[in-house]
Amino acid sequence: MTAGALGTTGRSGAAPFAPALSLRGVGKSYNVAGRQSTTLAEQVAEWVGRARTPSEANRFWALRDVTCEIGKGEIVGLVGRNGAGKSTLLKVITGVTTPSTGDIDVYGRIGSLLEVGTGFHPELTGRENVFLNGAFIGMRRAEIRQRFDEIVEFSGVEAFLDMPIKRYSSGMAVRLAFAVAAHLDADILLVDEVLAVGDQAFQDKCLGKMREVRQREGRTVLFVSHNLAAVASLCTRALLLQSGRVIADADASEICRMYAAGVASTTSNEVDLTSVPRAKRSAARFSAVRVSGIDAGGAAIDTIHSGGSVEVVLTLSAEQRVSRAVVGVDVMDERGRPAAGVSTDASDVWFDVDAEGARRVTLRLHDLRLRAGTYTLGLTLRTMAEVLDEVDAVVRFEVEVLPDAPYERWPGWPQAAYLPRFDVRVE
């Protein structure tokens, strides 16, 4: 067997290749010009008028021309920025949505790990939800009954089994969901960004389970995560996605290096804030913001690493003169809880903005030791007397954990976003 016969997949070894998944020219497009959902009256008007064929310009390709073969027993990571097409790829493979182009062959039963809450009903108890969740991913009731004790033990929520799931914490719910999926006898397991929840011990347990599953049963796993450390340690191979295309297909650690180095980056984007609705008019406001990571040499890079530095460049404009203004930046986690914050007055920096004038304020936040995930910025412009402008959650960015992060363990529960440096002494 020659390397050429294996195509671009970069696999090696003498074992005969048996496919688990085969994708040929798979693409998925959405019509962005017309709304997808119309009322009956609008639809009738369209039928009477002309047939609705969205022009190529109105099509958004969430996924484009993906061709690859994934072999039995491989653990493949999917890496890419938000909107790169990772989740769409998983949806197309599971059959949740139909591809617009191309074909997929699936050799075996697919199980996908559901997002927290998707397969759960809040009013049902933990026990009932195990059966419901199991049924959604295609398990038989007898199969669930048989493995019920194992599932419950793995989840560690025995004590709450007869409590409605609406009273569970999200951590407990996700543990139960993972426990069900991990015990599914699927040939191909799809895992989408679930390790973001749960404490470290449970995450370790999940990663261990996934390795064990693969070694013992030869199952195939497709794994989406922003936690590059997990991808590098768990996966044998990874695909790097950008704007719906697979731009690299190689060894997992190689892909993580490429991604971290910003190969997948787009040009750093400035967000226009002038059109964001405000509650009131004021003398001055934010007009634009740009967020980027900065490397050790101080150059702007597109990925933001946990423990690295972030540069926030704010542009302000004033209608009337403002004196002694202060700018504050809060970093908020996915649930809108503040994780870190800075304010210029903490460094005793106050500044004036002339009428019809503008200012550019550059803030660098260093050693931002946040857990992997999506964060948003809360921006505040104020004087001693009043708040002039507030913009929340318009700017979002991803924080990734590098494989060689300066810390190995990441605490979870309670799920604090910020991890300070610390010492510990036990006596």
Binding site: T39, V96, T97, D105, V106, A135, F136
Partner: protein
């Protein structure tokens, strides 16, 4: 790229368990897959049953109370005030028996209608044969019906008017036809509601209208002979009339009309399934 992968002959080309093609327009009716997912149907149906009266003070008693209340109101309005004939039975029992069949039809149809849009998260995130969602509404309807039938028979027993076994044996057959009709219409409305939310506003009115065009508050015998043929073209009418006749054990079964209704019900069911499958590919994108 794919050809050389298997070309060395060492690996026998296995057949894929599932083939996803962008070119097929309609999701094929895969009975084997539906059979594999039969436990999901059961689990979903049980979920609906369990959830209905959870966190209510009266609990399961509502299954009994709701048809009693509806029958009470109808007895007051149509029995006592409008004095509609009830073919020899006490009006309350007459209308109660009518409501049993009607509710089984209406519950299935209404729950089907919201089966997809009420489970948006599932439809956009998880794969399973979608048709299971509306189909799962049948069980709750049938359970309510069964409870109602037991109550009715107890009352008839006390009154010494228990219908014959031969008469009762027709009940499951008529109920099957009622459910086929309800599901057929339900599949269509479930699929349409995904695109046109208008359906969920219009449907309750149509159902209300249909209630008065059906033999619930009155019997078919009360319909003037001149328009009775036309009246019996409403496919649910002969079925509800047949159900009540079988349950109360009095009156005649209009077999010709029921035969026509059976044909319509089966056809409607098939059309509903096909329509649902034709729309299947867009649910996750449009919902």
């Amino acid at each position: 790229m794919t050809v050389p992968l298997h070309a060395n002959g060492a690996v026998p080309a296995t057949t894929p368990l599932r083939q996803i093609r962008s070119t097929t327009r309609r999701t094929p009716l895969d009975l084997a897959e539906l059979w594999r997912y039969r436990d999901l149907w059961l689990t979903l149906a049980l979920r609906d049953v369990k959830l209905r009266y959870r966190q209510t003070a009266l609990g399961v008693a509502w299954v009994v109370l709701l048809p009693l209340l509806a029958s009470g109101i109808f007895t007051l309005v149509f029995g006592l005030i409008a004095k509609l004939p009830s073919d020899g039975s006490p009006y309350f029992l007459f209308v109660f028996a009518g409501f049993l069949g009607w509710n089984a039809f209406q519950n299935t149809l209404q729950r089907c209608g919201i089966a997809l849009i009420g489970n948006t998260a599932l439809v956009t995130k998880v794969y399973f044969p979608r048709i299971i969602l509306p189909a799962a509404s049948v069980l709750a309807s049938l359970l309510d019906f069964a409870v109602g039938v037991v109550m009715l028979l107890l009352v008839l027993l006390v009154r010494g008017e228990l219908p014959s076994v031969a008469s009762l044996a027709l009940v499951p057959l008529f109920m099957l036809l009622v459910q086929l009709l309800g599901l057929g219409l339900g599949f269509v409305s479930a699929a349409l509601t995904v695109r046109f939310r208008d359906v969920q506003y219009v449907l309750p009115y149509l159902i209300q209208l249909l209630l008065y065009a059906s033999p619930v508050a009155y019997g078919v015998s009360a319909v003037p002979q001149a328009v009775r043929r036309l009246y019996l073209l409403n496919p649910i009418a002969p079925l509800l009339d047949g159900l009540r006749t079988a349950l109360l054990g009095r009156g005649d079964v209009h077999w010709l009309a029921i035969g026509t209704s059976a044909l319509v019900s089966v056809t409607m069911f098939a059309v509903g399934v096909l329509f649902f499958l034709y729309q299947d590919r867009q649910y996750a994108d449009v919902i």
